[in-house]
């Protein structure tokens, strides 16, 4: 059993929570101008991190609010919990957007407009 510290409710059993995938995936500034490939990458392409990973969770049988969590995908060690709209604590993880830019899947089609910071 894992205990998750909900920012509103405190430590609760993991079964009260549901997973929401990678955190900080920015919504495109101009979604209408994206090619099909760029849109598909925004929708479906996610990091598959081994180690510290920023992800979203919702306390679905508690306060029903979303929050961010940094979890080690190897050891399940929870390093930080922070609210929606906040940035991860310094030094714990590189923003996934920066990781994505450093290893573009299709360099020629890299999208310069995809810079806004989502929650």
């Amino acid at each position: 059993m894992l205990l998750f510290s909900c920012p509103n409710c405190g430590p609760r059993n993991e079964t009260e929570f549901h997973y929401g995938g990678q955190a900080h995936v920015a919504y495109p500034d101009q979604p209408g101008e994206l090619s099909d490939r760029e849109w598909a990458e925004y929708l479906f392409y996610r990091q598959n991190t081994k180690g510290l990973f920023a992800e979203r969770w919702v306390h679905s049988t508690g306060c029903r609010k979303w929050f961010n969590m940094i979890r080690d995908t190897v050891s399940y060690d929870i390093q930080a919990v922070y609210r929606m709209g906040e940035q991860p604590p310094e030094g714990l993880t590189a923003p996934p957007a920066a990781q994505a830019k450093s290893q573009p899947l299709a360099p020629a089609e890299a999208n310069p407009t995809n810079t806004s910071e989502g929650v």
Partner: protein, 211 residues
């Protein structure tokens, strides 16, 4: 609600979600120093409130409910047995003793919300209420609830949303040995039988619950 002859007649026809288990609850309740009792508290009135408690509409509603609870676990007490439970930062559940008598109260809350952002909805038949009481009540709950129920973490007069026996419930500690569980109506049969099963080990030889 005005007590007309029609309303009295309708009230007599109401069936609570766990009414078919009342005889089992009575037979399964255990007296004594390790005792634990279970009963249903039917037809409580409930009002779902969603509003920012710091907004003007939130303050107007708080004036009727005896304040809105500010953090997880807290329960605000108002006039005429009205209690307001914290469900989320902007979500509350007001519990009144009688669903049949709260129409005026709900109308007052709707008027207090006015055109402010939020909602006030009568949710009286959404949930039913079980009361588990006795020296062993906490032990029965701890078999299937992962929340920390020790008095230092879960004092009398607090309420949390959590899971008991895999289903979501509102768990409200109303006294040192008294817990109220508010499951959704469709889970009432399951949770009632689940709690009865958890109470069986405390039965003493010769009592109705002894197997």
């Amino acid at each position: 609600m005005v007590k007309t002859a029609f309303n009295t007649e309708v009230a007599a026809l109401r069936q609570s979600p766990a009414q078919h288990l009342w005889a089992d609850f009575s037979a399964g309740s255990v007296e004594g120093e390790r005792g634990v009792g279970l009963r249903e508290v039917p037809f409580q009135g409930m009002v779902g409130i969603r509003v920012d408690p710091l907004s003007e509409a939130g303050e107007r509603i708080g004036a009727l409910t005896g304040g809105l609870p500010a953090s997880c676990g807290t329960v605000a007490s108002g006039p005429a047995g009205v209690s307001t439970l914290w469900l989320g930062p902007d979500e509350f559940l007001t519990v009144t003793p009688d669903a049949g008598g709260q129409d005026g109260f709900v109308a007052g809350l709707v008027a207090a919300l006015g055109d402010g952002a939020g909602q006030v909805i009568d949710l009286s038949s959404n949930r039913t209420t079980f009361e588990l009481a006795g020296p062993s009540a906490r032990e029965v709950l701890e078999k299937s609830c992962a929340a920390d129920l020790h008095p230092r973490a879960f004092a009398s007069g607090t309420a949390i949303t959590t899971e008991v026996g895999k289903i979501p419930v509102l768990l409200w500690k109303t006294g040192p040995e008294t817990f109220r569980l508010l499951p959704r109506a469709s889970f009432a049969d399951y949770l009632g039988r689940w709690l009865l099963d958890g109470m069986r080990e405390f039965a003493t030889a010769g009592s109705p619950a002894w197997h």
